[in-house]
């Protein structure tokens, strides 16, 4: 596997630190007067999601982590794993465990495409697109005339996610939701 020297460190680069894959967030080069140069590096450990700050001697190297992001279609869940398939026509499938799927589980809709981060060929993180479109399966009855008045109510979507929606939303409607904030964006008109 390749390795990267501190000079090559930049945001987004994936490296191995203490045996865990990490993504570099920031890299600051510091060199006092006539002294030795250091790199102060902020990283996020992709296994634990914890942020680290480490200082390296400039010129030191870290091994590259075999981490790649791939678009994959969600297929189904067998009770233990969530199965994803490459969209490149190879039909190659990857089982993602509960840890990899994490909170994304509430946005998973069959046949939609997600970003699957593979570490040494196995799913490490599943990330939903920024916006998903999901059907409302449960909410209090819509009330006509409340449009201008504002106010909101909870609605359960087909994947199990619960979002706050305006009062006029009814069961069966398809909504656009921002997965980063979990907020309702709008109705999808057919």
């Amino acid at each position: 596997m390749a390795s990267y020297s501190t000079n090559e460190f930049r945001g987004g680069l994936k490296v191995l630190l203490d045996g865990d894959p990490c993504i570099i967030l920031e890299n600051e080069f510091v060199k006092p007067g006539k002294g030795q140069a250091f790199n102060r590096v902020k990283l996020r450990n992709l296994m634990t999601n914890r942020q680290w700050e480490r200082t390296f001697k400039s010129g030191e190297s870290l091994e590259a982590a075999d981490v790649i992001d791939q678009d994959m279609e969600y297929l189904y869940n067998d009770g233990e794993f969530w199965y994803f398939m490459k969209t490149d026509g190879s039909f190659e499938q990857f089982p993602a465990d509960e840890k990899a799927v994490g909170d994304t589980v509430k946005w998973l809709k069959e046949q939609d495409v997600y970003t699957v981060t593979l570490y040494n060929g196995a799913p490490l993180i599943v990330t939903p697109p920024n916006f998903v479109e999901l059907e409302v399966v449960e909410t209090d009855p819509g009330m006509k005339g409340d449009t201008a008045q504002g106010g909101s109510k909870p609605a359960t979507l087909s994947t199990g996610a619960v979002v706050n929606v305006p009062l006029f939303i009814t069961i069966g409607e398809v909504l656009k939701v921002d997965t980063r904030s979990g907020e309702y964006v709008g109705r999808v008109k057919n």
Binding site: R10, G12, E28, P32, G33, K34, Q36, A37, R54, K57
Partner: protein, 334 residues
């Protein structure tokens, strides 16, 4: 490889300068200020080679090799982009130039960061007959005049490390020094590999520097002798203290000055020590500049000298956070 948030070399859009026109104008004005300052004081402007036959032996500065073709009567081959015009300027001093200054582009391999670009603009000047105290007063006039700041404080290195890092740089054991560094580097190989000066540099960079020079500029003085390649050393409270100073303004290190070493034997010994350390670190050994040593042999007048980063001075003038804001084209766009 995944594209980062920043531009990559492959993008076609990065031909434009990173400095605004307003800042380019300030840069030109700054150069005018500097030249006016020295003209008033009768200091002669000089130009010396940017590409020299020798680089520096300094363990922490890597010169960039540039190898010109052999010309008549010369062996061609290895040349070095200068990391400072120091040796050439000292040869002028030894030849009787009197007070001199130079504005030049200098090169330091691998140095790129918020305050570093591998090629940068350096103002270097030498004052025969001055000691470090007198030269500090002149630096203060130049910098505080241009930035419109109050006169700097002068604080000893020892006091700063005691105040900000809780250690005595002269008395602390290597164990205590490493203990103070542990929160910064963790328990790995790096901690074990740090020697006294390594620890002190780390603490200076991360504990002291970020807090320096916010009320008013600060001169750091009386460095440990081990941290001053070309400065005179005297004894103070039983410790070897270098006649070296640095000026900090708003957390930015602006310049480095010495009451200069004029002893050629001592200078040669330090070159060889440097090269021995370079060997130990697996770095290229640098040719010893015999012409420079010959000039010292013939006699360098007693003088003080200082090198000041003009790009950083401009950053302070313009309130820039990144050196690229004051450079027309930083390394990645050069």
């Amino acid at each position: 490889m995944m594209a980062s948030g920043r531009e990559t070399a492959a993008t076609g859009a990065s031909w434009q300068p990173t400095a605004s026109r307003q800042i380019l104008k300030s840069r030109a004005q700054q150069l005018g200020w500097v030249r006016g300052f020295f003209a008033q004081r009768g200091v002669l402007e000089v130009e010396t080679p940017v590409l020299g036959q020798c680089g520096v032996t300094d363990v922490n500065i890597d010169s960039i090799a540039a190898s010109p073709m052999a010309v008549a009567g010369q062996h061609g081959g290895r040349g070095w982009l200068q990391s400072s015009p120091e040796y050439h300027m000292k040869r002028l001093l030894a030849a009787g130039s009197g007070s001199i200054y130079q504005v030049s582009q200098v090169f330091r391999d691998g140095e790129r960061g918020r305050r570093h670009n591998p090629e940068f603009s350096l103002l270097e000047w030498y004052r025969p007959g001055f000691d470090d105290q007198q030269l500090m007063a002149e630096v203060a006039e130049l910098v505080c005049g241009w930035l419109d700041l109050p006169q700097p404080h002068r604080i000893g290195y020892r006091q700063l490390l005691r105040d900000h890092a809780g250690i005595d740089p002269f008395e602390a054991s290597i164990t205590d020094l490493r203990k103070a560094c542990r929160p910064l580097v963790g328990d790995g190989d790096l901690l074990e590999s740090l020697d006294r000066d390594g620890c002190l540099n780390l603490l200076m960079s991360f504990r002291v520097e970020p807090a320096l020079g916010f009320d008013r500029p600060v001169f750091v003085t009386r460095y440990p002798a081990s941290q001053a390649a070309l400065a005179r050393v005297s004894r103070e409270d039983g410790h070897a203290v270098a006649h070296r100073f640095e000026l900090y303004v708003r957390g930015i290190e602006l310049c480095n000055g010495y009451w200069e070493l004029t002893d050629p034997q001592e200078q040669r010994r330090r070159f060889h020590d440097d090269n021995a350390r370079r060997r130990g670190l697996g770095k290229t050994e640098m040719p010893v500049d015999e012409r420079f040593l010959a000039a010292l042999e013939s006699g360098l007048p007693d003088c003080a000298g200082v090198a000041l980063g003009l790009d950083r001075l401009l950053m302070l003038k313009c309130g820039a956070d990144e050196i690229s804001e004051v450079l027309a084209f930083p390394a990645e766009r050069s």
